[in-house]
């Protein structure tokens, strides 16, 4: 189900009060925060791939993808990598601290298009976070989809997100989880190499597959080329894009990507829609 293109009348710039319920460390610099709404209970509805604007008192606001389970409506969960002042401040919130939440915003993963087909999830680094709600959705409605293949590349073993869950997911039927790292130590018994090197172990059936890709833009360019080599149609490949965002509703102009606004037309785009833009430098 996609957000319908009807006008939304409430003030989209006003944050709703949430408070931190839980902060869990995923990796040395990445944390998963659970935020619970301070008033209404049933408001935390979202679709996999959508994002929120999180506002911190005295710090500012930042766009963060929702990484939680879309069937749990009493919370919003975000996985945040501490890379700057605002994200550092966010991951250092204590339990009970207030966070302003706007959203959810954007067009997420095309679950309808994936129905009845094999779902190929290709994630790089923190890019697994926006894909996790999709993985939950597919696993909870297992019979609605064909095979689920999760190909995940990280920097090093200690930078991998959701390690326990990856192992749990792999135990589901018709589900293959392959993980690789760019830099492996001797204690790492898994794959070493970039995420594109995993394709040869997954035997995709290209005509019945839909691929959902999220990671750094360079990684996604390599992955889309590999998916095409594997025989997937450009119409069956979806990417989640990132640009500067201030408003998240198409007013501020920052997230323009050629003719698209990442915030309201994306962040998830069909590869065919943006293929010609991906190679353009300084677009």
């Amino acid at each position: 189900m996609m957000i319908m293109a009807t006008a939304i009348t409430t003030d989209p710039m006003l944050p709703q009060p949430y408070s931190v319920r839980e902060v869990a460390k995923e990796t040395p610099d990445t944390f998963t925060l659970r935020l619970d709404p301070e008033n209404a209970v049933n408001r935390s509805m979202f679709q996999p791939g959508e994002f929120s604007m999180l506002w911190l008192f005295g710090v500012g606001e930042l766009p963060i993808s929702i990484s939680g389970d879309p069937s749990l409506h009493d919370r919003l969960v975000y996985t945040v990598r501490s890379v700057g002042q605002a994200t550092h401040s966010l991951v250092n919130r204590g339990v009970g601290d207030g966070v302003g939440v706007r959203g959810p915003f954007g067009a997420g993963w095309p679950l309808e298009a994936a129905r009845g087909r094999d779902v190929i999830v290709v994630a790089g680094g923190i890019g697994l976070a926006p894909l996790r709600p999709l993985i939950y959705q597919v696993l909870q409605n297992r019979k609605d989809y064909g095979r689920l293949v999760i190909l995940y590349g990280g920097r090093s073993p200690r930078d991998l997100l959701y390690r326990k869950e990856l192992a749990t997911w792999a135990r589901n039927r018709e589900t293959q989880v392959l993980v690789t790292v760019d830099y492996g130590g001797l204690s790492w018994r898994g794959h070493v190499g970039v995420v594109t090197t995993l394709f040869k172990y997954s035997r995709l059936q290209p005509t019945r597959s839909v691929a959902m890709v999220c990671g750094p833009e360079i990684m996604m360019r390599f992955v889309t080329r590999e998916l095409e080599t594997q025989g997937l149609s450009r119409d069956d490949i979806y990417l989640s894009m990132e640009r500067n965002m201030k408003c998240a509703v198409g007013f501020c102009g920052h997230c323009q990507y050629g003719p698209h606004f990442i915030c309201k037309d994306g962040p998830v785009f069909r590869y065919e829609q943006i293929r010609n833009l991906l190679e353009k430098y300084e677009l």
């Binding site: 610099d29 990598r81 890379v83 790089g124 680094g125 923190i126 590349g153 990280g154 920097r155 930078d159 690789t180 760019d182 830099y183 492996g184 130590g185 001797l186 790492w188 018994r189 898994g190 794959h191 070493v192 190499g193 970039v194 594109t196 090197t197 040869k200 172990y201 990671g215 750094p216 360079i218 990684m219 390599f222």
Partner: protein, 152 residues
């Protein structure tokens, strides 16, 4: 029991190879096994063999004085290990260690070089396949060097 010929034919690296060529290959091939942790090849040693991996995982490593060995990549079922036998000075550039118990077909590089010199059609087929592997690994290595997940 599986014949060497069948194993070679079914390995993705030799997929679609003319059966005449496969027969030439078989005369240079042997079944090999490595225990987990064993070194399959070592940097600086003469490169006289290459391997079609049938089972298990192999880590390609490089040694650095102040480090434990660094794993550059891993190779598994359906992949090949080693191309230094193909070009002078026929010396391994890296270590390769069996991560798990590994089963493979070892192909005698000297034997194969001789056959490729004698039969350029075979040589061309073999080179084309190695060129593709090299291209894929070069691209993967470039992407790996970009260190795309690092905080910039």
């Amino acid at each position: 029991m599986e014949t060497l010929e069948r194993i070679i034919t079914e390995h993705p690296f030799f997929a679609g190879l003319d059966c005449g060529f496969t027969n030439l290959m078989v005369s240079c091939a042997a079944n090999v096994r490595f225990k987990a942790g064993a070194y399959i090849l070592k940097e600086g040693d003469p490169a006289n063999t290459f391997y079609l991996i049938r089972e298990g995982k192999v880590a390609v490593e490089v040694l650095a004085p102040q480090h434990k060995p660094i794993i550059i990549s891993t190779l598994s079922m359906g992949e090949i290990l080693g191309w230094s036998w193909l070009l002078p000075p026929f010396q391994w550039k890296f270590h390769a260690r069996a991560v798990d118990d590994v089963r493979a077909i070892g192909l005698d590089g000297k034997c194969l070089r001789t056959k490729c010199e004698e039969n350029h059609d075979l040589g061309y087929e073999v080179l084309k396949r190695f060129a593709q592997i090299m291209e894929q690994r070069l691209e993967a290595t470039r992407l790996q060097l970009l260190d795309v997940y690092a905080v910039k």
